[in-house]
Symmetry: C2
Subunit: 133 residues, 2 copies
Amino acid sequence: MTSTEGVGALFDRWQQRRLEPSQCPVRDVLDRLGDKWTSLIVVALAARDHRFAALHRAIPDISKRMLTQTLRDLERDGLVSRHVFPTTPPSVEYRLTPLGHSMLDPLGALVAWAESRHSEIRTARAVFDQRAA
Amino acid sequence: MTSTEGVGALFDRWQQRRLEPSQCPVRDVLDRLGDKWTSLIVVALAARDHRFAALHRAIPDISKRMLTQTLRDLERDGLVSRHVFPTTPPSVEYRLTPLGHSMLDPLGALVAWAESRHSEIRTARAVFDQRAA
DNA sequence: CTGTATCCCCGATGATACTG
DNA sequence: CAGTATCATCGGGGATACAG
């Protein structure tokens, strides 16, 4: 069974079970990955553990507010762990948990798809916009 | 090289190239997948071609407005094709394009991850919320 | 049946200032 | 350094009515 058949079959199972959106694993996961910063933070932490300021330098266009909030959400979901060192000034290190690491394979598959197909998508957009104009 | 190393290495390449967000394939793709309805529509169309009303029945909690808009976005990106049959009343069928089908494998990987890890995530949340309270 | 056009609201995000 | 608190903004998305 290919993944294509798998996704289609999944749809039919969903239809039969009439899942509540709040109980749908896919919405749960994609709602988080889909927000503006989660995937970037996960990718950064995949490369290496980061302290708060280092993460901020790695992703310059995020605000401290959203960096904190996104990290808390990831921590809450068990994807990231937070390690406080009571130095002065304080330092806090963020790491992917094993659960977080386990997401890298499927995320990597999507990233690879995105990179390999991006030019095709951009071309399709240009054509569509041309015809619309 | 595992996908994990791949994602980490990707991060370093991104850092060196200092990509504009608008040119980042991953943001492009995840912004679309991350919206409220795209993934559900793609999964539905993976199972089979759908007419507008059938798609609406398959995903009852979407409004006609957002269904139309999301389908247009998918069409613009070349992931979905639109086929009009000039019957009365009119009927329109939506299908995944080959490009759209090519996304099902990586999307399926993510869906499989989400389903297999969802209980772990829910448990982590419960623990986190308990400690916070 | 397959959409468009409007209006409206709320939540996600940013900016800025402050704190241990 | 690593956040928190507060206010302002903007656009995604719902509801409704209309149209070809």
